[in-house]
């Protein structure tokens, strides 16, 4: 690593214009080379121990040595024994094998991530998920070439270890307000959309299989429907991975992402339903009714479990003022327990995790220290990042490993049907949804929502879980699933960014709002609320206000420690900010000076020119420092009550109560 530093320092000191570019190229070449070297070393060391551990020589040698020593007292006249020298250095890999390999994989994943970002152009063209799958393919290929069996993405490992961190990260930092504002739309897409996808794909696939000419006639209807339900769910991991990089506006992001989270319940129910009855061979109406009830139980039960654990976590955090160090642990463990508890009852673990994170967050954040908050945030981000990387790499490796049974018709028809089903579903649902929305979804929005329906590792794991005996076509299904995943992640993932730019979809508002905009927006918010109250129209968020009031009166008193429950959120925030500012002040050597002297009516004389005034105005104003501005923005944003949705035009409902 010191060689890298050496290079950067030497080359960056060159004053010439062209040289840094060449230097960057050289840098990346040398860095790339070094990384590749490291990777090769690690791969070699991964592969060799696997080979060594399985070789019998070492073990027998040990045994033989033991034998010799054992025989020694019996053969008194025998001088056959060899006195073994005390082993100063010995090799015993088998007892650290599993942790060693896990660590190697994690290290490999992280190094890959590091490597991508060192290569400047690559990460802007190809999304990370694609690169990781390619790496997985390479690693899998390497392992196969060496002669070993590449590990497959074990479903247990996936569902119990790799998936929860990502979902918890998403749930804990879920932007509640856009989510609840759009929850109707999201639910429509998640439930109705997934059902439509599943049945459309499953049904049509079955129809295609019945056509003469393909030798797929023995794929029965229920198996097809099961396959359809596996393949139709939008995957949160893939969506997160791709959408994070394209910085799309909040509404679309929350729509696709929320859909990917909430469709878990539907997938779970459909999967279990079809799996159960695929053996039997028929589904009666009673079974369908049971399925519907099961869906409600799964979804609501998952949320309930999550809420219970969330409340427990919030309550626990009330008492942690003396043991600040383990505060993050409570957050993680309670959430994981929520996930596992939901999985025990075959409820939706993902929804439990989301509910737990979302419920506990406001109370936990009020109780824990600033440092714990940072710890939680960065641990979650770190784990979810590593998990995601591992998932994609394993996906690649599993592709090389898994038994494949390729059938042109089946696979291509699947891919096409998935696309068609998604587009039709989104268009149809949007038509219905737009009747109930104020901010309608435009065609561009619909396109992005349809195009962003990526499939990922969840589909693969569910497919992998299928029993080979019950489903003779399992390998065919797996191949098709992998193809769809590859297609969506590679083709759709790579092209979505240029398409977003091409269609000029509204991006996330990168420029922060000016102070005036904040003030006026909040002013308008309150104004509209007041007018609504005057004209006696309770509006969309009446129940929300009731919930807020309930929250303030009872819940906060229980779950937030001591005096903090009475303290408005702003004061706690203000304290944290003051502390942060004090720290910054000390670090910067007391540099930041806030302009305190401002005339009461802004007088325009004798002030320094500002950066880009219109030419007519030569006079300008004292600059507000960045830090001060930021502080003010934050105060405004957090303090001013958000009582109503800001996008709403007033007369959303007609005045018919």
């Amino acid at each position: 690593m010191s060689r890298l530093v050496f290079f950067t320092q030497t080359y960056s000191s060159m004053p010439c214009r062209a040289l840094p570019r060449m230097a960057a190229g050289l840098n990346s070449v040398s860095e790339r080379g070094l990384l590749l070297l490291l990777v090769m070393m690690f791969l070699a060391s991964t592969v060799l121990p696997i080979g060594a551990a399985s070789s019998p020589e070492m073990t027998t040698r040990n045994v033989k040595g033991g034998h010799d020593l054992h025989q020694e007292p019996h053969g008194s006249g025998h001088h056959n024994y060899t006195k073994k020298a005390f082993p100063v250095l010995s090799l015993d890999y088998s007892h650290v094998r599993i942790p060693f390999e896990i660590s190697l994989w994690v290290l490999l994943a992280s190094l890959m991530k590091l490597g991508f970002h060192l290569i400047p152009r690559l990460s802007s063209i190809v999304p990370e998920s694609c690169l990781l799958i390619v790496v997985g393919l390479l690693v899998g290929g390497l392992i196969k070439v060496v002669g070993e069996d590449p590990p497959v993405l074990d479903s247990q490992l996936f569902f119990l270890c790799l998936l929860p961190p990502i979902i918890l990260d998403a749930g804990y930092f879920l932007p509640i307000r856009p989510f609840t504002e759009n929850v109707g739309t999201i639910l429509m897409f998640a439930v109705v959309g997934t059902l439509w996808n599943a049945f459309f794909v499953g049904g049509l696939l079955y129809a295609v299989c019945q056509i003469e000419g393909t030798n797929l006639a023995n794929v029965d209807l229920l198996a097809c429907l099961l396959f359809g339900s596996i393949i139709s769910a939008v995957d949160p991991v893939a969506v997160l991975a791709v959408f994070e990089e394209i910085h799309i506006n909040e509404l679309l992001h929350i729509l696709v992402f929320g859909e990917s989270l909430l469709n878990d319940a539907v997938t779970v129910v459909l999967y279990h339903l079809f799996e159960e009855y695929a053996g039997v061979g028929s589904v009666s109406v009673a079974d369908v009714c049971l399925g519907v009830i099961s869906f409600l139980v799964v979804a609501l039960g998952g949320i309930l479990v999550g809420t219970i654990y969330g409340v427990l976590a919030a309550f626990t955090s009330r008492f942690t003022s003396h043991t600040r160090v383990i505060e993050p642990l409570f957050v993680f463990v309670y959430s994981y327990m929520a996930y596992l508890s939901a999985e025990v009852f075959h409820l939706s673990g993902i929804m439990a995790l989301i509910a737990c994170g979302a419920v506990m967050r406001p109370y936990v954040e009020a109780n824990i220290s600033h440092k714990s908050h940072t710890t939680i945030k960065y641990f979650l981000k770190m784990w979810s990042s590593v998990s995601e990387t591992l998932i994609f790499i394993f996906l690649g490796v599993s592709t090389v490993a898994g038994p494949h049974s390729w059938d042109w018709t089946f696979v291509t028809v699947t891919v096409i049907l998935c696309l068609v089903a998604r587009v039709l579903g989104v268009v149809g649902l949007t038509y219905i949804i737009n009747k109930f929305r104020i901010v309608k979804l435009t065609t561009k929005d619909q396109f992005i929502v349809a195009y962003g329906g990526l499939r990922g590792a969840i589909a693969f794991s569910l497919g992998y879980l299928l029993d080979r005996v019950q489903f003779p076509k399992r390998d065919l299904f797996l191949t098709a699933i992998i193809t769809v995943i590859f297609f969506t992640v590679f083709v759709q993932g790579m092209t979505i960014r240029p398409l977003v730019d091409l269609l000029a979809v509204k991006k996330k508002q990168e420029t922060k709002r000016s102070i005036n905009e904040e003030i006026h927006t909040q002013f308008l918010d309150h104004l509209l609320t007041g007018i609504e109250d005057i004209c006696g129209h309770y509006g969309h968020h009446h129940w929300k206000d009731k919930l807020n009031r309930f929250n303030k009166k009872y819940v906060k008193k229980c779950l937030i420690a001591g005096e903090r429950s009475k303290e408005p959120q702003l004061i706690a925030f203000y304290h944290k900010m003051e502390m942060k500012q004090a720290i910054e002040l000390v670090e910067s050597g007391g540099g930041v000076k806030l302009p305190s002297a401002v005339p009461s009516t802004v007088s325009m004389q004798n002030i320094q020119p500002k950066k880009s005034p219109p030419p007519a105005y030569e006079r300008a104003l004292p600059q507000i420092s960045q830090g001060r501005e930021e502080e003010i923005r934050n105060i405004l944003r957090t303090n001013l009550q958000k009582t109503r949705q800001r996008l709403r035009s007033y007369n959303r409902h007609t005045l018919v109560a």
Binding site: F523, G530, I534, D545, P568, T601, N639, Y650, N651
Partner: protein, 178 residues
């Protein structure tokens, strides 16, 4: 001051004037009756007694807006103590969403009207300009929910906001008559 109106014929006149539909006017009339406890006019106390409004940080300004003559579309000045249904409706009509088929000029006019309403809300001393004092007052009202955030901070924020505006335009926020 409108006389007691319960005749639908009068509503027609109001509908034309304010642009509400007859159904909407009927509902608002019922609400007006409820607020005024059956009288023909409402006072500030009637509006203040609305429970949900008490949580609103800028309630006094909202209530004031109803009694501000400038919002009655009659080029009046100053404020009144009590208003009738017609004035109530007129103030409410500022919040009507624009109709479907408006020409760009009509849209522009509507927008100016709404902005004018907002401007009047800020300009409490009716002099046609919003001074820093008035703006400071607005910010203080907005932040008044959390008592501990003192006057100093509000003052600082208002000053910063004024600076920001002034960096784009000049001096006081003057309503440009054009």
């Amino acid at each position: 001051m409108g006389a007691l109106i319960s005749v639908p014929g009068e509503f027609q006149h109001l509908a034309e004037k304010t642009g509400f539909s007859l159904e909407q006017i009927g509902i608002l009339h019922r609400r007006f009756q409820q607020l005024s406890h059956g009288e023909t006019t409402i006072r500030r106390e009637n509006l203040r007694s609305i429970p949900d409004l008490s949580c609103n940080p800028i309630r006094s300004q909202i209530i004031q807006a109803f009694f501000d003559k400038r919002n009655f579309q009659q080029d009046g000045e100053g404020s009144v103590q009590e208003i009738g249904f017609e004035e109530f409706l007129t103030v409410m009509s500022h919040f009507r969403p624009p109709g479907r088929n408006l020409t760009p000029e009509e849209m522009e006019g509507l927008r100016r009207e709404k902005l004018r309403f907002l401007f009047n809300m800020h300009d409490t001393d009716n002099d046609g300009t919003i001074t820093l004092e008035e703006y400071r007052h607005v910010v203080e009202e907005l932040l008044s929910r959390s008592g501990a955030l003192g006057k100093e901070t509000a003052k600082g924020i208002a000053d910063a906001a004024m600076l920001e505006v002034a960096s784009i335009s000049v001096g006081h926020m003057v309503w440009a008559h054009s």
